[in-house]
Amino acid sequence: MTCTVNGVPRTADDVWEGESLLYVLRERLGLPGSKNACEQGECGSCTVYLDGTAVCSCLVAAGQAVGREVVTVEGLSGGPDAEPGPVQRAFLAAGAVQCGFCTPGLIVAVDDLLSRNPHPTDPQIREALAGNLCRCTGYEKIMEAVRLAAGGQA
């Protein structure tokens, strides 16, 4: 299967048709940033962009991504060795990362929110992130991180 991942055309071999996009990214393309926690659309830890739209990659059949553009959390900074992007910096600055399992999905969801709505209100932030579960932080630090990123202070 061939699709563009983080701007680069990629081909994965031996993909079973119907396998999830999340599985292809993690196990076949070596991009473990997107996490697999629930695999049923409930936690958002697998959030990626598919043709510019934020989706849960655990519920996307690999075939659906063929020929399309995927951007993962790895694609939001310049790569594993590059500087973190602005949303990532805000998460670090606000102390919004504990175990970190939810973080990659949140980073993509926040990136998506801020690209559509650069100055969201608190209720708008809550609604946009309702599909991203975090068991550690109690969300207050996450709210702070989003406000920071929106204010361009990170």
Partner: protein, 342 residues
Amino acid sequence: MERGEKGTTQNMRSISYSRVADVATAIATVTADPDAAYLAGGTTKVDMLRIYAEPSQRLVDINDLPINHIELQPDGAVRLGALARMNDVAMSPIVAQRYPLLAEALVLGASAQLRNMASMGGNMLQRTRCSYFRDHEAACNKRVPGSGCSALTGVNRGHAVLGTSEHCIAAHPSDAAVALSALDAVIHVQNRDGHHAYAIDDFFLAPEDTPEREHPLQHGDLITAIEIPPLPMARDSLYLKVRDRESYEFALVSVALALRVEGGAVAEVRMALGGVATKPWRARRAEHALLGRPATHEHFLHAAREETADAVPRSMNGFKIELARRTMVRALETVTARGGTP
């Protein structure tokens, strides 16, 4: 039934996938193969395949079909293509202005990521969240007809109290379908023989003694559009959803309501309930009790009691009857206090 490592890879091994670009090919492809099924957003389908709740092996991806438009018709009706995404419908000014109850029902459903993927047609065909339906160890008449219903004596806090039978008490999960039911929407379907239109109330079937049948569609039938007739009073309408968490949860009870009060009396009313019934539940008894009566708390409560008079509580979900009454009354009072449509 064994499950694969981490639930994914092994289960999906035998699944095939293809993409189609036009309606006729889509219908021909699925109709010809009993193991084939349409794939839209995948938010129900991929989930079901993973847990083996559905046997189909051949996914026919319909996302390239040109049936995703949101259009205002010359007669004032609004036509939603079956592939219109929940989010696009919710955000469409055409829908938000004319049918706020539908826009609200959509925004209050699932999460942003899921609404970006999920289609309106798929939403109508999503499967129940009854946990026994998804558990292969459990008896479930909906999954395996005749095997029994584990929920009758099991954990049934989330289950239905209206429209149930001794064969199944699963609540219908869709929020959008509840709003569409209040709006008298029409579901357009195409198959090899032509076109069919179903009034939404005839589309969803109560379980009776065939809980495996949830709608009248035959294998290969493609939903092409959902049409909403004009309803001027719906410009002041509301969707009230009560759930355990403030966000991102299926409804315990929901009420879709459009109401017009004139001279202190109910001149027009449409109401439907979610979370408490086996299908999107048009509250016709309550509507009947309200029409022409004073728009007061006392009459609202009377109508809500009428609607739930035949409700059948199970061991853990009796609270839903009172909750449904209160939610109906609150919805009626909220729209009345806003002043209704001018």
